[in-house]
């Protein structure tokens, strides 16, 4: 794994199951980040004169991202996931975790919507400047949510150790 999104301080003594849940979450996160990089590459590739190929690459990258986000979401919603465990241990986090899950779902829907939009409008020239803008906004939303989740998990781990 690359740099973990949630660094665990040495002073924090996590149990084996806690470490396993954290690692599983990082793996899901990394898969999503890799899919985000793929989309970023596809959208940033030259577009003029190769509209169809460009559009096809972006659609493929959106599909990969949708899968990655969907899998991450499914895993995070499991009763034995890190988030579920945090809520069980600290019920005051329930509202924040619920808000995160709702936001995740909205992000996934936004990805699916954009992919369908591009697939359905294959006639004529692609407005790639506009599509790049939409991709940027989508990725920006994802990054924001990822950071919020990292904050929440870290705060919860540190608090539970006190």
């Amino acid at each position: 794994l690359a740099v973990e999104s949630v660094p665990v301080p040495d002073s924090l003594r996590l149990t084996s199951p806690e470490r396993a849940r954290l690692k599983a979450r990082e793996r899901d996160h990394e898969r999503t980040v890799a899919a985000m990089y793929r989309l970023e590459r596809a959208a940033g590739a030259p577009a003029p004169g190769r509209d169809d190929a460009w559009r096809l690459d972006v659609v493929g990258a959106l599909a990969s991202l949708e899968n990655a986000v969907s899998e991450e979401q499914t895993n995070a919603n499991r009763p034995d996931s890190l988030l579920s465990e945090l809520v069980r241990g600290q019920p005051r986090l329930r509202a924040r975790v619920r808000a995160l899950r709702v936001q995740h779902d909205q992000e996934r829907q936004a990805i699916a919507w954009l992919r369908r939009e591009i697939v359905q409008h294959t006639d004529g020239h692609a407005d790639y400047a506009d599509l790049r803008r939409q991709v940027a906004s989508l990725l920006s939303g994802l990054r924001y949510e990822q950071a919020r989740e990292a904050d929440l998990v870290y705060e919860a781990l540190v608090t539970s150790a006190v």
Binding site: A2, V3, E4, S5, V6, P7, P9, V33, Y37, E40, A43, G44, A45, P46, A47, P48, G49, R50, R132, A136, S140, R143, Y144, Q146, A147, A150, D151, V153, Y154, E155, V158
Partner: protein
């Protein structure tokens, strides 16, 4: 023979700019990765990591700028090919210049916050995101420009 030499020079220039762009993108990813790491309740560690990453991005942009503005750089040569391309090259340079200024200002801001007790993680992430968005957008426009120029070259060669 002259044409071959020119084509080799073009290929070399494309490879150089591609390598610079990739370095900029890699360092940008590091900036985003550290900005997106848990920040609350570890604000100073978060800031230190982010400062290091932003400094690396600043260096990568300086190298990119140095190569892009050199006399035998691809942008310079494209600009010499006609007034339309010249205008686009000039605009691209200006926009890259603005991004470099933004990154520099961000680096100074992070430096100023190093001893502060008031580090607004969310606000700084927003600033990183804004700068990263603009940088990616300009990189895509640069890729479009090079691709279009290459298409014209190939068409002319036919």
């Amino acid at each position: 023979v002259v044409e071959n030499a020119e084509m080799r020079a073009d290929d070399h220039a494309f490879a150089a700019i591609h390598s610079d762009d990739q370095r900029v993108l890699d360092t940008l990813h590091e900036v985003e990765r550290f900005a997106g790491r848990a920040g609350r309740r570890r604000e100073h560690e978060w800031l230190t990591e982010l400062r290091t990453a932003v400094a690396a991005l600043e260096r990568a942009l300086t190298v990119h700028h140095h190569h892009a503005s050199s006399g035998d750089g691809l942008l310079t040569r494209l600009g010499d090919e006609g007034p339309d391309l010249q205008a686009r090259v000039t605009e691209l340079r200006e926009r890259f210049g603005s991004v470099r200024a933004e990154v520099h200002a961000l680096a100074r801001r992070l430096e100023a916050l190093a001893t502060s007790r008031d580090i607004d993680v969310t606000d700084l992430r927003r600033r990183v995101e804004h700068t990263a968005d603009e940088l990616r957008y300009q990189q895509a426009r640069e890729a479009d420009l090079f691709h279009e120029a290459r298409l014209v070259d190939l068409t002319t060669a036919d």
